[in-house]
């Protein structure tokens, strides 16, 4: 027998209470993980989407608080293309737009010469040509959600567009996108000669030094900033706020889990006062007595995580069915989210057990043994 066995036995003795507290910790862990997955999915999803489309750098307005508030003059494209090390540049206008009246879709518009059209993997139909007007290519999820296929018509900002192709991108954000030609979206959204960002493709075999040099040149062009695709949203203010809220709510949820452990163990210590007196009477030190109780709290934390992690996957599946966000992002708790949450949860449960443990250790053996 060891301390872990003793802690497990004590938890087993009050199986119903242990289960209830573990479930409450599990719910806290699931809430925390789901919220973190939600905030991370925005950043991860955007990065994955841009990587899949093959850009190396993304250029946005330096002062834009988020990607959709970036406005850049379309004619900056020529200056960007002239920077040594740059292979291709594609201007993009991106926004959420009402599609078929009641669905908000992420619409991205590219010029007909954009290298993205050439790289776009098509499941059906074709990419637009310079001669096309009022045509769209749908991501496969948009095609399914809108029940539209090649040859059908969709309505964007009260203008009709013909579906000429369906892409087979893999990332959630690209699968949910509606692609159209730049002049069309500029016209219907009253954003003439403007783009949201430029995607920059560097010369093959570029080095970190090349990236740094190109970024420095771009910075010289005025109020522009260039970021690698995986860092694009690192300074996005909306995302930072969302992350801060998610983390705060997660900590509150986990702290509530810790409090429920404190409450349960406080009751357990009250009920087991006499047993604690026995431990002391047979020579257990305060530290060992405390350790046995703190261990109980940490084991509840582990049990809570065991319940909470699968539950968080289930909650994330529910997110994916939410119309407002489910079609755009994919939510999945990853190991880099699970490990810190698990650690914080177990530590908080241990901390929750610390107060009951210290109360137990402060008792004199005779006082403890006198209790009924």
């Amino acid at each position: 027998m060891n301390l872990v066995t003793l802690a497990l036995r004590n938890l087993q003795r009050r199986a119903a209470r242990t289960a209830i507290v573990s479930i409450s910790v599990g719910l806290a862990v699931a809430s925390a993980l789901s919220l973190i997955a939600l905030s991370n999915s925005v950043e991860r999803g955007s990065g994955e989407g841009m990587d899949e489309r093959g850009g190396d750098l993304v250029v946005i307005s330096r002062n834009a608080s988020d990607i959709f508030s970036s406005f850049i003059a379309e004619d900056k494209q020529k200056q960007l293309a002239a920077i040594p090390g740059v292979a291709e540049v594609s201007g993009e206008l991106a926004m959420f737009a009402p599609v078929d009246k009641d669905q908000q879709k992420l619409v991205t518009a590219l010029s007909s010469e954009s290298y993205f059209w050439r790289r776009m993997p098509m499941a059906k139909g074709r990419a637009p040509t310079p001669a096309d007007r009022r045509v769209v290519v749908l991501g496969v999820d948009s095609s399914e959600a809108l029940h539209k296929n090649v040859g059908d018509t969709i309505n964007v900002y009260d203008e009709n567009f013909t579906v000429i192709g369906v892409t087979k991108y893999q990332s959630a954000i690209n699968r949910s996108m509606v692609y159209m030609l730049l002049p069309d979206l500029q016209e219907i959204a009253f954003r003439q000669k403007q783009v949201t960002m430029f995607q920059v493709k560097l010369q093959p075999n570029f080095t970190p030094a090349t990236v740094a040099a190109v970024r420095a040149e771009i910075a010289k062009l005025g109020s522009l900033t260039a970021s690698p695709t995986d860092q694009l949203l690192q300074h996005d203010r909306n995302l930072l706020v969302m992350k801060a809220i998610s983390q705060s709510v997660s900590m509150i949820a986990l702290s509530m889990g810790g409090l429920s452990v404190l409450n349960a163990l406080l009751m357990a210590v009250q009920e087991r006062t006499r047993e604690i007196g026995i431990m002391m009477a047979i020579g257990w030190s305060k530290a060992r007595t405390m350790a046995s109780i703190v261990l109980e709290g940490m084991l509840i934390g582990v049990a809570g995580c065991a319940a909470g992690i699968p539950l968080s996957y289930f909650i994330c599946r529910l997110f994916e069915h939410m119309p407002t966000i489910g079609g755009i992002l994919s939510f999945e708790p990853t190991i880099d989210m699970i490990l810190p949450t698990l650690l914080v949860s177990v530590v908080l449960c241990g901390l929750g057990a610390l107060y009951p443990a210290s109360r137990a250790a402060r008792m004199s053996p005779s006082d403890a043994l006198r209790r009924p």
Binding site: M1, N2, L3, T5, L6, R9, N10, Q12, R13, R274, E275, G277, I278, M279, M280, A281, I282, G283, W284, S285, K286, R288, S364, P365, S366, L369
Partner: protein
């Protein structure tokens, strides 16, 4: 001749409760020597349980001190170390942990002493076999009789090979046959292991089986004598020490006021 040093010496100890309203002990001094076998007798409320609690460090005296091998015991930390290594305690209510088997209850007392789990298991098994419970190792306390539970408690108290075994009414919750068997076991262990045994009881018959009898009344020792049945001379010379203790309240030299 070698000076006899008490194992434990209770030095002018008082213990009051309820802010001094109840005086359980009123200046008690008592020395216990290695190998002693002492029965503490008294009616309910006489202070005998308070005395044994203080001797085990489970309770703190209101005034006075307890001296272990000529060194005053200062705080709970020191008492904890003594209980872990030198003092074993047996309670009237057995006080076993209900969720643990007999074997695990004994193993509990061996934890934190540097022994491996395997060594702890082997030692605990040996102790339970010694008290006649070799076939009841895996039983929970609820599945054991009162006598068996007390045997588990005895095995647990012996886990640290104590120099002093304190038994607070160890037969109080047992029928006469079991009580007799438990006292036989304790006296046998005291004789074979050389452990000093201090047993609180209100049973004159059981007390008569100990070499020395200490009677407490209203918080004071009113009698400290050798029993009639005690052997005239024992191999360890305990009776002679008891007489000396009676005559002088057993105050060791180290505690006498210096001239």
């Amino acid at each position: 001749m070698t000076r006899k040093v008490p194992l434990i010496y209770v030095d002018n100890v008082t213990r009051s409760y309820d802010g001094g309203g109840v005086m359980a002990l009123r200046g008690v001094s008592l020395g216990i020597f290695p190998g002693d076998c002492v029965a503490i007798l008294g009616k309910s409320g006489s202070g005998k349980s308070s005395l044994i609690q203080i001797m085990g460090g489970c309770d703190t005296p209101t005034s006075g001190q307890v001296v272990w091998r000529e060194e005053p015991v200062r705080d709970q930390g020191e008492w904890q170390k003594l209980r872990a290594s030198e003092i074993g305690i047996i309670f009237q209510e057995f006080l076993l942990l209900p969720a643990l088997t007999a074997l695990e209850n004994v193993e509990m007392a061996l934890m934190g002493k540097g022994a491996s789990a395997k060594e702890r298991n082997a030692h605990a098994t040996q102790l339970l076999e010694m008290v006649g419970l070799g076939s009841r190792l895996r039983h929970l306390p609820s599945a054991l009789s009162g006598g068996e539970r007390q045997r588990v408690a005895i095995a647990r108290s012996l886990a640290n090979k104590p120099a002093l075994l304190l038994a607070d009414e160890p037969t109080g919750n047992l029928d006469s046959a079991n009580a007799e068997a438990i006292v036989d076991l304790l006296l046998d262990l005291q004789r074979t292991q050389g452990t000093a045994l201090v047993m609180v009881t209100h049973d004159e018959g059981l007390a008569a089986r100990c070499r020395r009898r200490v009677r407490i009344k209203d918080g004071l020792i009113v009698d400290d004598s050798l029993t009639q049945q005690a052997p005239a001379a024992s191999t360890d010379g305990a009776p002679a020490r008891a007489e000396a203790a009676l005559a002088t309240a057993a105050a060791p030299d180290a505690l006498q006021p210096q001239a």
